[in-house]
């Protein structure tokens, strides 16, 4: 029997998630450098082609790419099952990359017809992703809270993509639908798109855009953060869930709040404040459970990866406060409240979600590199631990520059000051440079593995 036959029984091959990770990082670097060059984008109201293009670069190119790659890696191991199809995942990667690059480009030049075309390519990839993960979920030996959170995120992702495509369809015209022969399949498709455009016309444009964006960020990314952290935080801190009921309540409240918020934001209803309260209650319940888990932890020291992640969770507090202010019934739309909406989006994307992802990056990348370079040598040679693959000093510099960058950029956006925005995002760029050096340090182990011969039959250290 081959003793290594079980290696990677659940996890997909290392290259699959790695290619998502590298693409995501490149998108983040591009987006931040873009902001350094054009800080005015964030210093003005967000309903313009440049903010929308950049937002899609961050959301689709950075966050979605990373999250999808991480899910292909983490969902099978966290739920103790196998990925349904690695080949589908490879196809999805192609659709996703072509789709998001085309969408960002077309948003920038505001060609909505082509946004729709590239959006359809991206949506085809998203459908493959949802199908692949859903089939994987159907294989889990026992249904858990994490499976529920992942399934919820898949549902919100599907609705977000559908809403996005409907908004894009609503911005196009379909003269050819009436001139093509009825039997022509293209005519049927155009009539469908025209019907979608007619439906989209029932809703206020900005309300629809906000509902789409809010559902995507909270429904997909924050829901996944909540669900996955219920597994990962106890695992990394040697702790355990303190109150199962509380974990379920947090996910149920978040789902209820997300559905209600989507409808009320779309309809520009005054009741959106009520559902914002439901969402905040869900996040508060989650926060209480996280505090309880951390208080019960056995491992005193927390590595920087975990500190990044927990800081992201802490940033949910100002984000929630801002959500309540912005959903307050009758809040006038002044230039300042418009800027606060920009801060809300920025804090959610580059504060909460990006901070959390960079933290998890320091867990996932070392694991993938270690797995690719050293897993077959475990027990045979002296191999480095995950923490030996990167520099904690660089992690610390990256942490502080990102945190100060997020806070200072948020203040600069609120004040509508482009020069100050440039300084703030400049700090984010410095942080990314440091992250890049650390990633290179980790990846170098794939080229030059640093294992040593075992010290065979070492002296027993008196702790048998």
């Amino acid at each position: 029997m081959n003793p290594q036959s079980n290696l990677g029984a659940n996890a997909p091959s290392v290259t699959l998630p790695l290619r998502f990770m590298v693409t995501g990082l490149l998108s983040l670097v591009t987006g931040v450098l873009w902001l350094v060059l054009r800080p005015d984008i964030l210093a003005t109201y967000h309903y313009n082609q440049f903010v929308i293009a950049l937002t899609h670069l961050f959301v689709l190119g950075w966050l979605c790419t990373i999250v999808m790659g991480a899910m292909y890696q983490l969902v099978p191991v966290a739920l103790e099952t196998k990925l349904y199809s690695e080949r589908l995942a490879a196809w999805q990667f192609g659709f996703h990359v072509v789709g998001f690059i085309g969408m960002v480009w077309m948003f920038w030049i505001w060609d909505m017809k082509h946004v729709g075309h590239f959006g359809s390519i991206l949506a085809a990839g998203a459908a493959l992703f949802v199908y692949n993960i859903a089939r994987t979920l159907l294989r889990v030996p026992r249904w858990t809270l994490i499976a529920t959170a992942v399934a919820s995120a898949l549902a919100w992702l599907s609705l977000t993509v559908l809403a996005g495509l409907t908004i894009a369809a609503g911005k196009c015209t379909y003269e050819a639908a009436d001139t093509l022969a009825p039997a022509n399949p293209l005519a049927a498709m155009l009539r469908g798109l025209k019907a979608a455009a007619t439906f989209a016309a029932h809703f206020d444009t900005i309300g629809a855009m906000h509902a789409h964006a809010h559902l995507g960020v909270l429904g997909v990314f924050v829901m996944l953060m909540v669900g996955i952290s219920y597994k990962l935080v106890p695992m990394f801190t040697l702790s355990e869930i303190q109150n199962q009921r509380r974990t379920w309540i947090s996910v149920v409240l978040l789902n209820a709040g997300l559905l209600g918020s989507f409808v009320t934001i779309l309809l520009r209803s005054r009741f959106k404040f009520v559902f914002a309260l439901v969402l905040v209650a869900g996040l508060a319940t989650y926060g209480l459970e996280m505090i309880a888990i951390l208080r019960a932890r056995k491992r005193r020291a927390m590595d920087w990866g975990l500190r990044y992640f927990l800081t992201a969770l802490g940033l949910l507090a100002p984000l929630s406060a801002l959500a309540l202010v912005l959903s307050w019934p009758g809040l006038p739309l002044t230039p300042f409240t418009g800027q606060l909406e920009n801060v809300y989006g920025f804090l959610a994307l580059l504060g909460v979600v990006s901070f959390a992802i960079i933290g998890m990056f320091y867990k996932i990348i070392p694991f993938l590199v270690w797995y690719g370079s050293y897993s077959k040598q475990i027990g045979l040679r002296k191999i480095p631990s995950l923490a030996d693959l990167y520099s904690p000093g660089l992690q610390s510099i990256g942490y502080w520059t990102w945190l100060v960058g997020v806070v200072s950029t948020s203040v600069a956006i609120a004040l509508g000051n482009a020069a100050a925005v440039r300084c703030g995002v400049g700090l984010l760029a410095v942080s990314l440079f440091v992250l890049g050096v650390n990633v290179a340090k980790m990846l170098s182990h794939m080229v030059h593995p640093r294992s040593k011969p075992l010290n065979l039959r070492p002296a027993v250290e008196g702790h048998l």
Partner: protein, 104 residues
């Protein structure tokens, strides 16, 4: 050539070469080894992991097997990963607790 006699201290010492790379501590001092059984040239190890669904599951279990098969005189090594009783930090040795920086 002198054959090395297989005994539990030798097996435990061998298993000490297998680390959990996330926690950076060997699996013996982590308290992951529940039992060792030696029958002739066959070794059976019953062990657990710190958490169910641990991403290192296959690597560590496979590493245990490889390390044992590498010992002179071992012809077969069987590794069984169990979840009952579930692992708890109280199962760690003093050395393991100190290495991991565990709270009392």
């Amino acid at each position: 050539m002198n054959a090395i006699e297989l005994d539990e201290p030798l097996v435990v010492e061998t298993l000490r070469q297998v680390i959990d790379p996330e926690i950076d501590c060997n699996i013996v001092d982590l308290g992951l080894i529940y039992g060792v059984n030696i029958e002739g040239s066959t070794i059976r190890v019953q062990m657990t992991l710190t958490t169910q669904g641990c991403p290192m599951h296959e690597s560590i279990a496979s590493g245990v097997k490889m390390a044992l098969l590498n010992v002179e005189g071992v012809k077969d090594a069987q590794v069984q990963v169990v979840w009952d009783p579930p692992w708890h930090p109280s199962m760690m040795t003093d050395y393991g607790r100190a290495r991991v920086g565990l709270r009392a």
